[in-house]
């Protein structure tokens, strides 16, 4: 079998067997979204206006919880070294592992979003566009996150530093995703330009982030 596919399959199997990461992320997502109405009060109009932004921000934070594990375990147990000398260049190793992270964490979070939308009185006409922006935008979250994961490999409390490094890079994703959802509900104009830019961000990160992540891994393997 193709080594790229094998690596993705192995990471998915590990994520499934270890279990914890996915459910922690989902639980955290639920907790953040459920806390918000308590803090803001039961103003349904306010909640439905801010719902897309809240759902997106909470998704970013939840995904970040597990992003540091993309390379960490393989680094700790020495599996990255044979991979560095394997048939795939490290760039593709980084891409495969980011893809596996998206499939195992990003996708479950996207699927949980409409349920959490109910808690925030998300307008019914926004669901389709919200799901679409999340499907299009979350790969960027995993791939950009992989840069931070690779940079903080050798550090003990890397998770915190990783959030500081990565969250600013996710701002464009957030802006265009939320503006696409908002425009689709309230207008004016079409949400397509914002959606197209979001797709561009995602595609660009899929190509460029593995290059940066691989460089950081090489540095950390020295």
């Amino acid at each position: 079998m193709n080594p790229f596919v094998l690596l993705v399959a192995r990471d998915l199997k590990l994520a499934w067997r270890e279990g914890g990461a996915v459910f922690t992320a989902l639980g955290f997502y639920l907790a953040v979204v459920a806390m918000l109405p308590f803090g803001l009060g039961p103003d349904l109009n306010l909640l439905s206006r801010i719902a897309p932004g809240v759902l997106w921000v909470a998704l970013l934070l939840s995904a970040l919880l597990s992003v540091d594990r993309i390379f960490h375990n393989d680094f700790e147990d020495g599996a990255l070294e044979p991979m560095a000398g394997g048939p795939l260049p490290l760039e593709l190793v980084a891409a495969a592992k980011s893809l596996a992270h998206w499939l195992s964490t990003g996708l479950p979070l996207v699927l949980a979003a409409p349920l959490l939308g109910l808690l925030l009185n998300l307008p019914s006409e926004a669901y389709g566009m919200l799901m679409l922006t999340m499907l299009v935008g979350t790969p960027a979250v995993s791939f950009i996150g992989s840069i931070g994961a690779a940079l903080t490999l050798g550090l003990r409390r890397g998770g915190l530093l990783l959030s500081l490094l990565i969250l600013p890079l996710q701002v464009p994703v957030l802006i265009f995703a939320v503006s696409a959802v908002t425009v689709s509900v309230t207008g004016p104009g079409s949400p397509l330009p914002a959606l197209a830019i979001l797709a561009a961000l995602s595609l660009a990160s899929m190509v460029l982030a593995p290059l940066a992540a691989a460089a950081a891994i090489r540095m950390n393997l020295q």
Binding site: L6, K13, N73, D77, G78, E81, P82, A84, P87, L221
Partner: protein, 201 residues
């Protein structure tokens, strides 16, 4: 095929570990690295594997497959075993065999005495069993150059003897083995390199 290192210098954290190190190992020969802790044995192996960039000097494989660099022609077995705790012994090995493009998982498991525990999650392995599983990677993907960093740590006497046989077989089939160790490996290494104390030869 010949592994040649010329005037290699290794600097770690501002400290020169070794400098001006040269060696030549021909196919069928072994290179034994000895020296006190911190003399740079592991660093030299990592350097050959392409994980550590030498500060100065060159490393090359003469008369090897030209289009591939040394990293893709070697097995590097370091201190860490590269084993996933939640996968079984067989799943671990099958992944490496598929990923590195080899075969013969069943034979490797039998050779290293892991057959009876093939379905056991690797988290439950003893240190010696985990080491054997790491060494099994040498057998599931054929590569000419073996870089071994303290390979026999925590192996029992019988496994050490098995492993010595594997090294001898690899050398006999015109492979190259470079090993850093404090324990006798039970195979004849025709080249010896003693590191440490400023100079080395």
């Amino acid at each position: 095929m010949q592994l040649i290192g010329e005037k290699l210098t290794c600097v770690r954290g501002g400290r020169t570990v070794f400098s001006g190190l040269s060696f030549k190992v021909a196919a069928g020969d072994g290179l034994l690295l000895t020296g006190p802790n911190g003399a740079g044995k592991s660093s030299l192996l990592r350097m050959i594997a392409g994980l550590l960039r030498p500060q100065a000097g060159t490393l090359r494989l003469s008369r090897g497959p030209a289009e591939r660099d040394i990293g893709e022609l070697c097995h590097f077995i370091g201190h860490a075993n590269g084993i996933k705790r939640v996968l079984t012994v067989e799943e671990n090995l099958r992944f490496w065999s598929g990923y590195l493009g080899g075969e013969g998982v069943d034979k490797a498991l039998a050779t290293l005495g892991l057959e009876s525990i093939r379905d056991v999650p690797a988290a439950l392995l003893s240190a010696g069993q985990a080491r054997r599983l790491a060494l099994a990677r040498l057998l599931v993907a054929p590569r000419p150059l073996w870089l071994l960093d303290e390979p026999t740590v925590s192996l029992d006497a019988a496994s050490q003897a098995t492993f010595a046989r594997l090294i001898r077989a690899h050398l006999a089939s015109r492979g190259i083995v470079a090993a850093a160790t404090h324990l006798p490996l039970g195979a004849t290494f025709r080249r010896k390199l003693t590191l440490g104390k400023g100079g080395s030869q």
